[in-house]
């Protein structure tokens, strides 16, 4: 199988596996007073310092969570308290579902947030929490986060940044971005699933927890930290892939698809090097994903709900792509992608594009009583 679905989950890095294997050997709970507790606590704090240094925050500003979704939910819950909430139209469901009543900031056809609209919204009204992701999971579009952060700070607003897809692929530095919080997920960086973090700016030293529990993480997230997973997270946080190589392979895959009739969604924007969103006009996204899967190529489309059905992409809809929103697949190259994998993708895409296109909407039935 050729795995081109890194944005769903990156393949586990050997460094993460080794760090987790070592951490499994350590018995204890970091809250315990005894020597075993201290040993575990040391591993935990070593991991925290490494992650803090990597992303430009103080170690006490790292809150470990169960993943990106919890980090986003915690940010909206804590930073959004008594504030009106503005979310970008292309945010991940982790943010959208946490703020169902939020005002929705539009994007242009490339998927870039409309900062002029944001400026207007921030100029009047009560203090706001703005949620703007650094890089989009479906298109790879990179948002002007530093600019948005400056806008927010000028108007007394706070900015939460979902950097789940950006981390490990482009620079993510809290101080440089100027935002108030950042959500991370380890398995999108080649670490294990089930762990992530919320990074906070120094002025947010205390926040209201979602889960109070035993007061772990300085009262910001209850529950015994998942130490082996956190060790795996820390082990990958400094690793990167050769982005120029990924971009060259991505561009090659993209060019091949375009030759067979594909349209690149968000092509004009500054994008992650590993991601492309390819619409094949007239062919349902789920049919494309199935055809490629049966041909040994793993890609995805839109957001799959727990039923497994492929839904029309809210990201592409927000970009004004209309019918194409239901006809696009996401190809995302993992850190260990090979040239052969792209050759295989090109061949499979050509075979798929040449297949008869299932007309899934045949002529309407004769209405009753006709």
């Amino acid at each position: 199988m050729v795995y081109l679905d890194a944005n769903a989950s990156e393949p586990l890095r050997p460094e993460a596996k080794a760090a987790m294997a070592a951490a499994f050997e350590v018995t204890g709970n970091p809250s315990s007073v005894h020597a075993a507790g201290r040993a575990v606590r040391r591993l935990l704090e070593d991991a925290r310092e490494r992650i803090a240094a990597r992303f430009g925050v103080r170690d006490q500003d790292v809150v470990f969570t169960s993943g990106g979704t919890e980090a986003d939910a915690l940010a909206v819950h804590a930073l959004g308290l008594d504030r009106r909430i503005i979310v970008c139209a292309t945010e991940h469901d982790a943010v959208r579902a946490a703020a169902p009543c939020a005002a929705v900031l539009p994007v242009d056809r490339r998927g870039v947030a409309d900062l002029d609209a944001l400026r207007g919204w921030l100029a009047s009204g009560p203090p706001a929490l703005v949620c703007l992701m650094l890089a989009n999971n479906e298109t790879g579009t990179i948002q002007p986060v530093a600019e948005a952060a400056a806008l927010c700070r000028a108007h007394g607003a706070q900015l939460h940044v979902d950097a789940v897809q950006a981390a490990g692929r482009i620079a993510v530095d809290r101080a440089a971005l100027g935002c108030h919080s950042i959500a991370l997920s380890a398995h999108k960086m080649g670490g294990p699933a089930g762990v992530g973090a919320l990074l906070l700016s120094p002025e947010l030293s205390t926040i209201v927890p979602l889960i109070a529990g035993g007061g772990q993480e300085r009262g910001r997230r209850g529950g015994t930290p998942a130490l082996p997973a956190i060790a795996g997270f820390a082990a990958v946080c400094e690793l990167g892939a050769d982005q120029a190589r990924l971009a060259a392979l991505r561009d090659r895959a993209e060019a091949a698809a375009v030759r067979h009739g594909a349209v690149v969604c968000g092509g004009g924007a500054s994008r992650l090097a590993n991601t492309t969103s390819l619409a094949l006009p007239g062919v349902r996204a789920d049919a494309q994903v199935i055809a490629l899967d049966l041909d040994g190529i793993a890609v995805s489309a839109g957001a799959a709900c727990s039923s497994g059905k492929v839904q029309t992409s809210h990201v592409l809809t927000a970009m004004g792509l209309g019918a194409l929103s239901g006809q696009a697949i996401r190809v995302s190259l993992p850190w260990n992608v090979t040239d052969d994998a792209i050759d295989a993708f090109e061949a499979a895409y050509a075979r798929m594009a040449a297949r008869p296109r299932p007309a899934l909407v045949p002529p309407p039935l004769v209405p009753a009583g006709a």
Binding site: I290, G308, K309, V310, R355, P356, L365, G369, A370
Partner: protein, 350 residues
């Protein structure tokens, strides 16, 4: 693969025979919304069951979102049909659209040679191509529901359960194949009306079909009131109140008139020899003249001797013995076990 025992066994048997089997489950409606349970997942237990069967067999499995298409082609048609004074058969509409039309197209698009389902019918390869025959088990036969399958679609179809002697054998096969759904109860009634109140579903889409009106005799005399034409079907004697008896004779619905919102009642002897059909599908080359055959006017109806004649806009059926056909139901033509074709019963011209 619905997640039920039939389609699971169909997949299991083909897999066992060495075919490359690809499982597809249709997400037809939001299960959480349909059952009215807040926060419930849009996918019911059935999708989970189908996926676990595919896991067990070691075959690929996909969930296709057919909600929009199903809402239009099946649920809206269901409500519109009631509002038009008919008694629809949503399972036929579903087979006609999301199942056999869309899935044969999907199969072709994926390079699959056949579409297999767990329906109880037999495909027999005759001199002129694939023929549709009744299942071996008369209790389970579903040929009436599949009359609208086109000849092109039928050529692409396989029905591995058509030859099963009975349901017990199918369940034993499921157990032999190690499928957890072996003892799963059969699905009941209409899938998108899990609460059992179809009138509620109709009323949500077509409130006019649940507006009260008069119960009248064929002469127009008002003999009672009713609570919506959608609650009545031709041949029904329930829900008529005092209008259920007249002159010591049991009365039944002989027509519903959506325009005037009237339900017309009469004695059982009000029946007809002639039935007109629309949207006729022929599974044989239609003869130039009348065809003698047996017809079934309802899903569980007995075969009735009749003569069918194709017309440009459908067909006319002349029954040997009069009957009380319900508009909107199917009239399916049989030569013994073989399905010759069928169509939808129209409302008589008034």
């Amino acid at each position: 693969m619905s997640g039920g025992v039939d389609s699971s066994v169909a997949a299991g048997l083909l897999h066992e025979q060495g075919h490359e089997v690809i499982g597809v489950t249709l997400q037809l409606y939001d299960h959480g919304a349909a059952t009215g349970r807040k926060g419930a997942c849009c996918a019911g237990q059935d999708i989970h069951d189908a996926r676990r069967v595919a896991d067990r067999l070691g075959i690929a499995h996909y969930v296709i979102d057919a909600e929009e298409r199903f809402a239009r082609a099946v649920i809206a048609d269901f409500a519109d049909s009631y509002a038009a004074g008919e008694t629809p058969v949503p399972c036929i509409r579903c087979n006609q659209s999301v199942k056999f039309a869309d899935l044969t197209a999907l199969a072709a698009g994926l390079g699959a040679e056949r579409l297999a389902t767990g329906h109880y019918v037999r495909r027999v390869d005759g001199p002129d191509g694939a023929e549709l025959h009744r299942a071996v088990d008369p209790e389970r036969d579903q040929s009436w529901f599949l009359f609208a399958t086109t000849r092109e679609q039928l050529e692409r179809c396989l029905f591995p359960l058509g030859g099963m002697p009975d349901k017990r054998t199918v369940r034993l096969e499921a157990a032999r194949l190690g499928l957890a759904v072996a003892e799963k109860p059969d699905s009941q009634d209409i899938c998108f009306v899990p609460s059992g109140s179809y009138a509620e579903v109709v009323g949500r889409l077509r409130p006019d079909a649940l507006e009260p009106g008069d119960i009248v005799t064929r002469d127009g005399a008002v003999v009672g009131r009713h609570d919506g034409v959608a609650r009545f079907t031709v041949g029904q004697s329930k829900r008529l109140g005092a209008a259920a008896m007249a002159g010591g004779e049991r009365q039944m619905v002989v027509a519903t008139e959506p325009g005037t919102r009237r339900v017309v009642v009469g004695p059982r002897r009000v029946s007809t020899f002639e039935v007109r059909l629309r949207e006729v599908n022929w599974l044989v080359s239609p003869a130039a003249g009348p065809v003698r055959c047996a017809v079934r006017l309802r899903a569980r109806d007995m075969p009735r001797p009749a003569v069918v004649e194709a017309r440009d806009d459908g067909a006319v059926v002349l029954l040997d013995e009069p009957a009380l056909p319900a508009p909107g139901q199917a009239c399916v033509f049989y030569d013994g076990d073989r399905v010759l074709g069928g169509g939808f019963i129209t409302r008589p011209a008034t």
